[in-house]
Symmetry: C2
Subunit: 248 residues, 2 copies
């Protein structure tokens, strides 16, 4: 019954995230998009703009996951070293991609097509382009490594367009239940449900809002019947404890 689900990993590249200057949101966008088509993200790494580190991480991930997504470091400035690093990871040559160059040439007038901007046409010789309808400069992929820019608005358009070319995996069913009871009260019962349904993933997430707190429970799995049954058992338990369960 259980399908061999495709696994992905994400590499976020940028000192500005590690210093705390920038709140990183690209990985959340990518994870949601992947979940949507049934691909599981298994790991995210956030690393500095350091060539050695990028090479090491790309090489580790591309061998261990079906898909690897990178964001950041493909712009026109000196700290944009993702393309050369990915090229080195694949032991490929960094070359001017003619199609990428031609798109940039068409986009910028002659005096604005600077040496810095030409930098964005350099890619591994085996790279295939990922379209950028927003700011033209394309991303690329080589084998199972997909290289995207770090500017959220550009990444989001590029990624959602590009993922249409991916095959949709089998659906994951889920049920979300909230309760006013705390984890300490419901923990033992949840453990027993998890032990009964080993295929399912039962997550428990406390929340604290302005005037209320409680726990949000997420039951997920590929077998809809099991998900529904586990959800029903949990709701019955919560009702028996006056936990005011709500189903989403």
């Amino acid at each position: 019954m259980k399908t061999k689900r495709k696994k992905a990993a994400i590499i976020i590249i940028g000192n500005e995230i590690l210093s705390g200057r920038t709140l990183e949101k690209n990985s959340n966008y990518i994870c949601n998009q992947l979940t949507e088509i049934g691909i599981i993200c298994k790991e995210i790494s956030i690393i500095p703009d350091e060539k050695k580190k990028i090479i090491e991480k790309v090489n580790n991930y591309r061998l261990n996951f079906d898909y690897v997504f990178t964001t950041g470091g493909i712009g026109p400035t000196h700290d944009d070293i993702t393309s050369e690093s990915v090229t080195a990871a694949f032991d490929d040559k960094l070359v001017i991609n003619k199609e990428a160059k031609s798109r940039l040439e068409n986009h910028y007038s002659d005096d604005l097509f600077t040496k810095s901007r030409l930098k964005m046409a350099y890619m591994p010789s085996k790279a295939k382009l990922i379209d950028n309808p927003v700011s033209i400069a394309p991303g690329f992929f080589i084998e199972n490594v997909f290289v995207f820019p770090g500017v959220p608005k550009i990444l989001e358009v590029m990624l959602s367009e590009f993922l249409r070319t991916f095959e949709k995996q089998s659906k994951i069913f889920k049920i979300n239940i909230t309760t006013i009871l705390s984890e300490g009260i419901i923990g033992e019962y949840l453990t027993s449900v998890q032990q009964t349904f080993k295929d399912l993933e039962i997550g428990s997430y406390p929340y604290f809002k302005k005037n209320s707190f409680g726990v949000s429970l997420l039951v997920k799995g590929e077998d809809k019947k099991k998900v529904d049954l586990a959800g029903k058992l949990i709701i019955e338990f919560l009702e028996s404890k006056n936990g005011q369960p709500r189903l989403f």
Copy 2:
């Protein structure tokens, strides 16, 4: 002149982040707090609630960084497996920490001190407690690994209190300059400044706001004179190109 600055890494544990359900903000908070006291965060990993994965990552990071911070997975439910995993990483025994148990006992009335809640007192035998003024259940540390909860409001209070015990590292100076010019226009000049000042870190971050776009430049380093000089050169260059530089 260059000090041996302490390096940190962060491990964020939780399936809810990898599925895209939760936007992860704890690492940004930790990075900002670390930057404040002069510690550099060099890497962040976000991994699932899987024992093997947690052990592997903790063991890799604790040998390669001065400090390792983990968040998530120390609550009372079945999916909270960080304590047992960190214990295994250190080849230690998972035991009831008496002080932690006593704090929980004092906090909860007898009928509310459930078996699930007692789970939160289990730690490596060599663990030392990290106080939790919000919800009492303490975090802990063992050697250079610091284990925090994942609920942001609790983590934030615990971490900022705890970091007061850390020695402040030497200051990092920085200058932030914005310009209306794009990276493609200023990239070449920035490269030359970076080549002149190899000790400095010069970052370039395009921004897109409602009615404006441009680039935000960050010049950082331990030598204030060099930071100021590089900043001055960049501002002069931007002025010469009508880039309307603004200094922050």
